[in-house]
């Protein structure tokens, strides 16, 4: 009996092992996940992901003063090309259908809470009266099915899509466009411009430029930087790294990169090992998850704090304040979760919206640090400082209690 059972067990282990790998691939702390951009990773992966044209564009956009109201960053736009929406103008309450990639990480959770508060607020105006949401749980197939369900049975007046991955979701977005109802894409892009507007912050190259430039300015040639990356093959993350790696190379910074999946235990091990090898002057991260444990590795090893770039997650900002280290918190604009619903209202009102709505993405610097810590007092560690929901009715309790709808 035992011998008969064992192959079954073995198969079972293999199946679970494989599904764990798949789950791992889909499960990341980064906002935007696109498993496998095609090219397999290699030593020169940062070059494979480098796109000079996009790099140059994002380089410029970092310094552009955005149009729009100064106190409402979620309505600001960088170099917009406005598109006509009069064909969608209509009266009465509208139902939006939202195909969400996932809420599997703190960044997406924070944004999702903000989006729901924005919805409550908009309902008062009587234009957007309802939103039905389907969560694809980081799965392309699920999201395609979600979108097709919305098209055929959703009774939707418009679509909001936060794609799970670029190429796989493109055909479904095109099908949604063919319904002649407004389609709004945000966060990650798709390979079609059929959507009325595509809302996103400047992008990964801008992140990489801001962060590596900060480290280069504060370090000397020949200094050692440890780069902590989430996982390979995700295009936004790879673009962050591609820009940073290029600039580090040009500035003669000695940089070594690791994949940690944002796990603080893994980050601590990696940084401790690097510190055991020799002194480390800088830490660069492609997403701020687990930043605190990188700092603690320096403390535990009794070494001086590094110059560091993390993210606008409060855990990092608080540690930064506490240690007074030299740091920068780049931002992957979390308030972009408010913009799609606001855009939808504008579209149904017949107001012009940018065909590509580029939101600002400015890092939090040492000068801004106190201000952002004050504004987010009482928020949990995993909250993002630039969540942009301070003027919504649920503020601050909803984010403090982190009630995920």
């Amino acid at each position: 009996m035992r011998t008969g059972l064992k192959p079954v067990l073995r198969t079972a282990v293999a199946v679970v092992g494989a599904s764990a790998l798949i789950a791992l691939a889909g499960c990341t702390t980064d906002p935007t996940v696109e498993p496998g951009g095609g090219e397999g990773g290699g030593e020169d992966s940062s070059e494979e992901w480098f796109d000079q044209e996009l790099y140059d564009r994002q380089f410029e956009e970092r310094d552009v003063v955005p149009d729009g109201p100064e106190d409402k960053p979620y309505l600001q736009m960088i170099s917009p090309e406005m598109g006509d929406t009069s064909e969608f103008e209509s009266d009465g309450g509208k139902k939006m259908c939202f195909a969400n990639a996932s809420i599997s990480n703190p960044w997406r959770q924070t944004g999702w809470i903000t989006m729901n508060e924005q919805l409550k607020d908009l309902k008062k105006n009587g234009v957007i009266t309802e939103m039905e949401t389907r969560d694809a749980q980081d799965n392309d197939d699920t999201q395609i099915a979600d979108i097709d369900y919305f098209i055929s049975e959703g009774d939707c007046d418009g679509f909001i899509i936060s794609p799970n991955s670029t190429s796989a979701i493109t055909p479904a977005v095109e099908r949604a466009c063919k319904t002649d109802k407004p389609v709004i894409v945000f966060d990650r892009g798709v390979e079609t411009d059929c959507a009325v507007t595509f809302i996103h912050p400047i992008g990964g190259f801008a992140w990489g430029i801001d962060t590596s430039q900060f480290l280069i300015d504060n370090l000397d040639a020949g200094d050692k930087v440890v780069a902590l990356r989430i996982l390979p093959g995700v295009d936004v993350l790879e673009q962050r790294w591609a820009a940073a790696d290029k600039l580090f190379g040009e500035a003669d910074i000695d940089v070594v990169d690791y994949f940690t999946e944002g796990d603080p235990a893994e980050i601590k091990k990696v940084v401790s090992d690097e510190l055991a090898k020799g002194d480390v002057q800088g830490v660069w991260m492609d997403a701020g998850d687990g930043a605190v444990s990188a700092v603690e590795a320096f403390e535990d090893a009794g070494k001086d704090y590094p110059v560091m770039t993390g993210e606008d997650e409060l855990s990092f900002l608080r540690k930064w304040k506490e240690t007074e280290m030299t740091a920068l918190a780049p931002v992957y604009t979390n308030f972009q979760w408010r913009t799609p619903l606001l855009a939808a209202e504008m579209i149904f009102n017949g107001e012009e919206v940018p065909t590509e709505w580029v939101l600002p993405q400015s890092p939090i610097t040492a000068e801004d640090l106190d201000e952002y810590l004050d504004r987010n007092e009482g928020m949990p560690d995993g909250h993002y400082a630039k969540f942009g929901g301070e003027d919504l009715s649920g503020f601050p309790e909803v984010w403090q209690d982190r009630v995920i709808p």
Partner: protein, 389 residues
């Protein structure tokens, strides 16, 4: 089909004289014996561990300093403890896939309940133990009394725990807990002569090892192995299979709880802490010569497996291997090590069928391989089965 562990007592009696016989071996014999042991599947993981550690020291001599070594053990402690817990379940022929989720749950519970209030540390520790026991009981009773395969049960509890904790906490930590709680996994006794400092985690690990080795040599541990080897036979022999297995699941969840407490200190509170621990633990256990499906393996084997795995990760951090290649290299080394033991075991089993006499000789030398700790598993080598034929 050579089930050998049916009578733990007789096994012990048999291994005792062989140990005394060992001392009469000459130097040459002993050298041969060492070589033979190194090639033994149980020895190979020790050899692998030593090779990896030497490689690390060559690349980075400061690793051999007592302080660095202590920090290394501190880092391995959580995964080693989880591997030891997983050992009890695997040796009984089951799996515990919920361990990672239990670690995460405990870490997040600490983050939510302790907060900045140092006085809550002790009460919360009791809560954690309660959660650990509860999860273990559910896993064990559903597996034994409801007869759901443990694979499915623990997969289910994994999802339930994970979902519940995400729902409760909103997927993030409020903040890192009070410093005195974190000291358990982060701090240690300072200014110790010779070795600089002893992290508390190392002491916790030592205590867990002692307890686990003791348990595995008690009738409980032997019955567990017997159940894993042949559950029906163990039942006929009068063991309370359901209770023994359930206890194994409780041990497993409790070990995940201890690991969680250490990780709160080591890494901090974050929902990704503990993720994938069940598979790392299973890999460590298998690497340490414990057989999936049950009935064969030792606590110290699982422990060695965990150390080898972590040493391998560290070695790769010390080499200039591109980040993208590391997973592949880890995987290849693990497969090679496990495949090697598989091949040797298979060959030995074959040999045991062809010649009984050589094998009883092999067996008699075997118990000394890793001295006392391997005693429970020794009977499961093919040789012993041959003796009983």
């Amino acid at each position: 089909m050579t089930s050998a562990t049916g009578h733990p007592q007789s096994v012990r009696a048999q291994s005792a004289p062989s140990r005394s016989g060992q001392s009469r071996l000459g130097v040459g014999d002993r050298m041969t014996e060492w070589g033979r042991r190194a090639l033994d599947p149980k020895g190979i993981v020790v050899v692998l561990l030593i090779v990896i550690l030497l490689a690390i020291i060559v690349l980075n001599p400061s690793f051999a300093e007592p302080g660095s070594l202590m920090r290394f053990i501190q880092r391995v402690a959580p995964i080693a403890i989880v591997a030891i817990g997983q050992y009890f379940v695997i040796v009984s022929g089951e799996f515990d896939l919920s361990m990672g989720a239990v670690v995460t749950a405990q870490v997040m519970t600490v983050g939510h309940l302790v907060g900045v209030d140092e006085s809550k540390t002790v009460p919360v520790l009791f809560v954690l133990v309660g959660i650990g026991i509860l999860v273990g009981l559910i896993n064990g009773l559903a597996t034994t009394l409801l007869r759901v395969p443990s694979f499915i049960v623990t997969l289910g509890t994994m999802l339930v725990i994970h979902g519940a904790i995400m729902w409760w906490t909103g997927g993030v930590a409020t903040s890192n807990p009070a410093e005195n709680f974190r000291q358990i996994g982060r701090g240690g006794f300072e200014n110790i002569p010779l070795i600089d400092s002893i992290p508390y985690a190392v002491l916790v690990l030592a205590a867990v090892i002692l307890l686990a080795v003791w348990l595995s040599r008690r009738p409980f541990g032997r019955t567990l192995t017997a159940i894993g080897d042949n559950s029906a036979a163990a039942t006929f022999a009068g063991s309370r299979v359901w209770w023994t297995k359930t206890s194994a699941f409780v041990l497993s969840s409790l070990s995940a709880t201890v690991a969680g407490v250490l990780l709160v200190g080591f890494a901090g509170v974050h929902p990704s802490v503990g993720q994938g621990y069940e598979f790392t633990a299973i890999t460590a256990v298998v690497l340490g010569g414990v057989v999936l499906g049950g009935g064969r393996g030792t606590v110290l084997g699982a422990l060695t497996g965990a150390f080898t795995l972590e040493a391998l990760f560290t070695l790769l951090n010390f080499t200039a291997v591109p980040a993208t290649m590391r997973d592949a290299i880890q995987g290849a080394i693990i497969i090679a090590a496990v495949a090697y033991s598989g091949v040797v075991f298979a060959r030995r089993r074959k040999r045991s069928r062809t010649s009984t006499s050589t094998n009883s000789a092999t067996t008699s030398a075997d118990p000394t391989t890793t001295s006392a700790e391997s005693a429970p598993s020794t009977p499961s080598t093919g040789g012993d089965g041959a003796v009983r034929q």
